[in-house]
Every structure is written in C-alpha cells, then in structure tokens.
C-alpha cells in the first residue's frame, strides 16, 4: 500500500520532531528558543490577543500601499522599457544595478527623507516591488509587440485601439500576473525589513522587539506569522498565475 503523502511534508514533520527532541539535550532549545510545542503555545496566545491584529494590520496596510505604488511605478517603467528599443537601452542598466545591489543601504535615506513612520516603509517596499513589474512586463510587451498575433491583426487592418484591446492587453496579462506574484513577495520584504530596522508598529517591529527582550518563543511565533503571510500570498498568486497561463495556452510563436 503506497502512502500518498508529499515527501516534503515528511521532511517538515521530521524537522519539527528533531527540534522537539533537541529540547531534551540542548540548553539553548530548552531555555531560550523553546520547542515547537512552546512556540505553538505562544503563537496561540498571541493570536488570541488583540495586539496582534493591530500590528498585522499595520504591516498589511504598508504592504497594500507599497504594492499600489510599486505597480504604478513598475508599469510606467515597463512602458518605457518595453515599447521603444531606445528607451530600453537607456533604462536597462539602471534596473540591473537596482536589482543586484543591496537595497537595504538606501533604507536610511528613506527614513531620513520620509520619517520613521509608515511612509518610509511603503516607499521602501515599493522600491523592491516595482522592479519585477518593470522587468517582466516590459519583456512581455516586447515579445507581444513583435509576435505573429500582432502582425496578423495588423494585416486585418485593426486600429491601434483594437490592437491594444484585443491583442496587446490579453497577451500581456500572464506576464503581469507573474510579475505581481514576485512583486508582492518583494514589497513584503521591503516593508518587513524597514519595520525590523526602525519602526513603532508592524510584524517586523514585533520581531525585533521580542528579540531584544529575549522573548524568543514569541519571536519565533512572529517569524511563523510573517512566513505564513508570505506563503499564503504566494500560493494564491501562483494559483491565479497557473489559471491565466493555462487560458493563454501557447503564448509564444509556435510553428
């Protein structure tokens, strides 16, 4: 009889079991970090307190606002990158630099210019989140503008408005969804990082506060919460992405 359990779940379960067992011989685990059970208890306690809703809400709001800003900026950039070869060659090096450089060192600039409150986290998050949109959507635009569907529609004498509405937008949609998925996780990264460094509220703030107060099981609970938030968002977007790609079937020229 073959068990149809995902091997990944087995790995996770084994890991948790090992951790729990470690509590028996390791002082560090027993007294400082806590075992899965201890952390679980703290997590339950936290979730039932009203405090967490506030901090969760702060992070969620910063994420939402950051995302809106990231999408707006990203789309503007992608139009410049995607449509004209000229602007593409001008802007592209800047984007590559922005992508590979540790953006965390610009965080003080955001804090100094926008203050230590929400605005700096939103902006810092948007900085992270706009890059995948700019890059992926512009790649999508470039491939769509050059492909056979576009040419075929032009031979059928479509107006520019028709080309955009009937060909361009539906064809770019899959790229947009993929870019959104990455943008969400990157914006979250920026927001959390900002909260971890200097903040008065939010999940990242809680994380560092409990680290500083040496309340490690509580700290681990927050790590779990943030991870869960990221995971759920990613999962939802992956599902949407899969559906959109499927509906679009063959997206590229396929002889």
């Amino acid at each position: 009889m073959k068990l149809r359990i995902s091997p990944a779940l087995i790995v996770v379960a084994a890991g948790l079991a090992l951790w729990e067992a470690a509590g028996l011989w390791s002082d560090l685990v027993r007294n400082v970090t806590g075992t899965p059970l201890t952390v679980g208890r703290e997590l339950a306690a936290i979730l039932s307190s009203s405090d967490i809703a506030f901090h969760f809400g702060v992070t969620a709001l910063e994420l939402g606002a950051g995302l809106v800003l990231a999408i707006a900026l990203g789309l503007i950039l992608s139009l410049g990158l995607g449509t004209w070869d000229y602007t593409h060659r001008v802007i592209e090096p800047f984007l590559i630099v922005a992508n590979t450089v540790p953006k965390v060192i610009t965080l003080p600039a955001f804090l100094m210019l926008l203050g230590t409150g929400y605005a700096s986290k939103v902006a810092f998050g948007a900085l992270h989140g706009m890059l995948p949109i700019a890059i992926i959507v512009s790649n999508g635009l470039r491939s769509v503008l050059a492909n056979s569907q576009m040419q075929a529609a032009i031979t059928m004498n479509a107006t520019n408005g028709q080309l955009i509405r009937y060909i361009l937008l539906p064809a770019v949609l899959p790229y947009l969804i993929t870019a959104l998925r990455l943008s969400v996780s990157l914006t979250l990264l920026g927001v959390i990082l900002g909260e971890m460094y200097v903040a008065r509220a939010g999940l990242g703030f809680l994380l560092m506060r409990w680290y500083g107060e040496l309340q490690i099981p509580k700290m681990l609970s927050v790590v779990f919460l943030i991870g869960s938030l990221a995971f759920v968002l990613d999962f939802v977007f992956r599902r949407i992405e899969a559906a959109v790609w499927r509906d679009h079937g063959i997206r590229t020229d396929n002889a």
């Binding site: 492909n147 056979s148 569907q149 040419q151 075929a152 529609a153 032009i154 031979t155 059928m156 004498n157 479509a158 107006t159 028709q162 009937y166 060909i167 539906p170 064809a171 509906d247 679009h248 079937g249 063959i250 997206r251 020229d253 396929n254 002889a255």
Partner: protein, 271 residues
C-alpha cells in the same frame, strides 16, 4: 468586349525592388533582394519558390506593407501596400491565432475589427468552417487542436474577410506531408470558388506545381527572378506533365540551392 490591358489586370507589382538588411552600427549590409521585377495579375495563383535564405518572405513582407524596400517600389492596385490592407488577407507560418479565444472567435476576429455585428459574423463564418472541415470545433481552443487544424483556422480567418489578395508565407511549413497535401487541396478548392489573387511562398516544388497557375523561381541571395514557369495543366496536377514541370523547376533550383548552401556560411535561413 474590350480586352482589359495588362496594366489594368496588374494587382501586385514589384518594380526594380532592392533591399538589404543591415546593422547601421556594425556597418555590415546584407543585400537580400536585388532588382526584382514581377507583376502578378488578377486572379492568378503565383508561387514563389527559392532556396533557403533568399528573400521570398521579404518580398511578401513588402507586399503586405510591413517592409519598405530600400530601392524600387511595390504596389498593390497601384497604391502603397500599407494603405491597401483592407483588400488583403495573410497567412503566416508561425502560430498567430489568439490562444485565449475559441476557434470561432478567432475566425471572426477580422470581422470584429470591421464592426460587423455578431449574427452576421457567425453567418459569414459558417460556410468556411464547413469547407475547411472545422465543423464541431468552433468552441475549442487553439491549444486543443493539431497544427494542421490550427492552420485551417488561420486560413478561415483570412478568407472570411473575402480578400481580393491572399498572401501565404509558407503556411504549411510546420505540417507533415500528408496534412500539407490535404489542407493545400482545401485551399485550392476555396481559391477556385473565391478567386483571390494569391501569392504563396513555399519550399515545396510539388506544392507549387499542384496549386499554382504560375511558378516564380528565385535565385539565391541577392534574390532575383530566375525564371517564371506557367503551369498550364488542366485537371489534377498529377501525372507525366506535372512531373516534367517539377523536374524543370528542380533543375533551376538545384543550382541556386547549392549556391545558397555554400555562400550562406554565416547567414540565417528562411528570409
């Protein structure tokens, strides 16, 4: 009845067409087409055949207005091709259907662009769907269909607009031999009904002889017209007469194909 002059009958004219592809930055220009003169008359079915890399597709791009020749001119009904798109139907080799639309919605796309109301669109599509063996597939999506079926849909999409000029750029290139012959036959029947002036770019000599009224043999790069061979066979193009024509065309092409193969060491095939 006064006989119409050749000029009246001319639909597509290539006059001393020159073209080169190049990188203005690196300074290297590759001449693709040189001094091509060709007149295609109303109702003809002309095949353009030549070795890989010669400018067959380039000539077709010019006829559809996507490319302006560096030298000489291309005219459709005496006008610039880009202005004459409403008389044009075109079929590409590459997949060009919209994957997110059903077969029926793909076929009626051009009609939608023209603002034809839905009921009329459906009615116009109906006959072509029958003639091309697509009945029953109207609600399917392109990804569910084979390559051959997809090309039938692409043909239907072009023909439903009742174009006066039909341009086909190696439309059956990605199909296996048998499907190729079948769909080619369906195309021929439709051509006999609708009689658009047709230009077919192809690699296949037998296809050219089977379908066309005239075969234009092109040289290797830089492409010129090597010879024009009229196909005057009545009835189905099988048998000795057709074979003789195929032999003649092959003799002409052999030379050019070898030249293309040897001279094309760094170039890309299939211009």
């Amino acid at each position: 009845m006064t006989p119409s002059s050749a000029a009246d009958r001319a639909v597509i004219t290539f006059m001393n067409v020159d073209h080169a592809f190049g990188d203005s930055e690196s300074g290297s220009l590759v001449p693709v087409v040189r001094d091509v003169c060709l007149t295609i008359e109303k109702g003809e079915f002309v095949s353009l055949i030549g070795p890989s890399g010669c400018g067959k597709s380039t000539l077709l791009s010019m006829a559809s207005g996507f490319l302006t020749p560096n030298g000489g001119s291309v005219r459709l009904f005496g006008e610039e091709p880009a202005l004459m798109r409403k008389h044009l139907g075109m079929v590409f080799q590459a997949f060009s259907l919209l994957p997110w639309r059903t077969v029926l919605d793909n076929i009626t796309l051009g009609l939608e662009f023209r603002g034809v109301p839905k009921a009329e669109r459906m009615a116009l599509a109906k006959d072509l769907i029958g003639s091309l063996g697509l009945r029953g597939f109207e609600q399917r999506f392109p990804r569910e269909l084979s390559g051959g079926m997809n090309q039938r849909v692409t043909l239907a999409r072009a023909l439903v607009l009742k174009p006066e000029i039909l341009l086909l750029d190696e439309p059956f290139g990605s199909l296996d031999e048998q499907t190729r012959i079948l769909v080619g036959g369906e195309l021929q029947k439709l051509w006999e009904q609708m009689h658009p002036t047709t230009v077919l770019v192809t690699h296949s000599i037998s296809e050219a002889v089977r379908l066309s009224t005239r075969v234009v043999v092109l040289t290797a790069r830089p492409t010129k017209v090597k010879k024009i061979i009229p196909i005057n066979i009545e009835g189905p193009r099988t048998g000795a007469a057709a074979a003789a024509l195929e032999e003649e065309i092959w003799e002409l092409l052999k030379d050019e194909a070898t030249r293309a193969m040897l001279g094309d060491a760094g170039g890309n095939g299939g211009a």
